[in-house]
Symmetry: C2
Subunit: 388 residues, 2 copies
């Protein structure tokens, strides 16, 4: 297997866009191609993460239209993958194997989504289709409902009073908003306080409005290539050191929703391939779709013992400058969450961090970074470890 | 790259099903696993083609639920790909690279769809989302409309009077229905005549009802593994000799819709990898979503000169026993077309043909077979060549 490098990355501003999903993808893709010192004609294959293009714009099979928009020719295979919110990370892992295997030398991969344009009611209903349609969606569960159950069980299991846990969860939102202020592409660039969170509307008890990430429009993309080619193209290639992907069945088959088995398996695969352990990770972009989701992810990835993640937030260990900076980009919470694009946006941030290009939100000396993307209600997790 | 083998295959009956998409997938998958002399615990990764699971059942991210249904554990990555009607063939090509590269030894791949359960009006509207949402769907085009344009241009371009072309198109339907009678899993098992076609309701002039394939429910699956493992597991492994995938942009950017560039590129890739030419193919399952689609596909794959495909049908060259038997399974026309499953069903037929297990519809002495799957209005084509 060949060593796979990220040559260039691109990303739109997250928030509300008047562009179509194909146009947003093209914007991010052209930035990735140009900053890789390449032209569209150099791209040999394309992978696109997209979740609700059909509901949003009546557009399925979006990948060949993305390809045509940036002028890729008919010999270039263009493939859409969908793993709910993890779609773009699934796409990156697919793109990785085609380069690692020696089949292609230069592959474009990314994600695009127009979730905000749908409006909250339709977005909530369509997002809920990521749950099991036979046992869960049917019963009325939504993602805030699923993660509210995670928070309640977490409180009971680890003996952390709910009020205490809610304060610590609020600190996740406070941190991520603070980071988002420093990210020019973030959807929300305004600091908040613990009180902002605790005084916000109740969504699914105990999750309040500011415990939840927003719906967003946006796109992000990466160019993957070989080590040899990347070194010729760009000054600072970033390498993919390990990848992992795990799967869960329906929630009702999970023994303990505070332990996401798909993540534990995915992370182990990625660490094993990279020959690294959690303590080697300098910076992490993880799936904070809800504040409690960041806490359980930080444990599932091995940064903290199970049950200790919320305490670590309180101690500031996940801030920029802390022991393991988490979501310096602002995360899904403040940067935004255009579902099919999120994994590529996490990769964008890690690549920029490892290149030392993050300005005010730079994690000093970061050499190894990790992304964590969760799709569905704990159903799909992809972890990717990047290094310089 | 390692040689990739198909160990076992499975398929549900096509038609109307009361099972969910996940349950249909499980039925096909378990047949593929069992006939491979394997157990679910042996499967290392899963790829699923599915197109409209969200519209049909409110189910997105269907792959991990398919995995859980057959008892695959959390370490097994489960990935959904969507390339409109070509979805399952895109999935097979993805599964192929993971085995060919040496990353996994045993991968399950297939497709599932419940298109008939939606009813024709909703199915027609949602299928139309495979066209470009900005330039085509918006203007009211549907798939019958797109292929009606192909037929009209074909008539003019090659100087074949429309009435003559319609008779030859009808012969495609007659042949595929005749083959379907011999396929116990086919949706339609009744012979028709040229008059049946020409007297049927007009759908999109010149395409009449019997020029069009049906909406269907169904699933199909394959187990891919290495040559070495396959030889230990089964008596007659079938090998993947070549794969290819091409992409087109919107119809409005196509110079000539009777020549599908994505197919010409995909076929060339597959022939090149296999070291074969069109005359080496003994049997072909190709994308006859409409009768005219079979004719243009037979030319695009190189079996006949451009403009000569309809004449070849008239001469019986595409019948079982003819020069190049096309769609011995009954094709999409008679076997049925559960969109996300179709590519896997084509593979099922070719594998059975190469093993000599097709009874009355057996193409005698078939050693090399090919599948051709078209997604969207000419947007995605995947070609795969199988051999023994």
């Amino acid at each position: 297997m060949r060593k796979v490098a990220v040559a260039g990355v691109g990303m739109t501003k997250f928030g509300v866009s008047e562009k179509s999903q194909v146009e947003m993808f093209a914007e991010a893709a052209m930035e990735a191609i140009i900053t890789s010192s390449l032209k569209p004609k150099d791209i040999q294959a394309l992978f696109v993460g997209n979740v609700l293009g059909d509901f949003e714009e009546g557009q399925m099979n979006i990948a060949p239209f993305c390809a045509a928009e940036i002028g890729l020719g008919p010999a270039v295979p263009a493939t859409r993958v969908e793993g709910a919110c993890a779609s773009a990370s699934v796409a990156i892992r697919e793109a990785f194997i085609w380069v690692a295997s020696g089949f292609y030398d230069i592959v474009l991969v990314g994600g695009t989504e127009r979730a905000m344009a749908m409006g909250t009611p339709l977005a909530t209903r369509t997002f809920a289709m990521g749950t099991d349609s036979r046992y869960e969606e049917f019963a009325g569960i939504t993602f805030p409902g699923a993660f509210a159950m995670v928070a309640r069980l977490y409180s009971v299991k680890y003996g952390i009073p709910l009020e205490k846990l809610k304060e610590r969860m609020a600190l996740v939102a406070v941190k991520n908003h603070k980071n988002g202020v420093k990210n020019p592409l973030a959807q929300f660039r305004k600091e908040i306080t613990v009180e902002t969170v605790l005084n916000s509307a109740m969504v699914a008890d105990p999750l309040q409005l500011f415990d939840c990430c927003p719906f967003s429009d946006g796109a992000a993309a990466l160019v993957l290539t070989t080590e040899e080619i990347a070194k010729k193209l760009v000054e600072k290639p970033v390498y993919i050191l390990g990848v992992g992907q795990g799967s869960n069945g329906p929630l009702c088959r999970q023994k303990d929703v505070t332990r996401i088995r798909a993540r534990e398996e995915a992370a182990q695969q990625a660490y094993k391939m990279a020959g690294l352990t959690p303590k080697d990770i300098d910076v992490c972009e993880l799936h904070d779709c809800f504040t409690i989701a960041e806490i359980v992810a930080s444990e599932g990835l091995g940064f903290f013992d199970f049950g200790k993640g919320s305490e670590a937030v309180e101690k500031g260990e996940t801030q920029i400058g802390g022991r393991i900076p988490i979501n310096p980009s602002g995360g899904l919470k403040a940067k935004g969450h255009p579902i099919g694009a999120t994994g590529a946006a996490q990769a964008y941030e890690i690549v920029k961090q490892l290149r030392g290009e993050c300005g005010e939100r730079q994690v000093e000396g970061a050499k190894i970074g990790m992304t964590d993307t969760l799709g569905g209600d704990l159903a799909t997790v992809v972890n990717i470890i990047y290094g310089i």
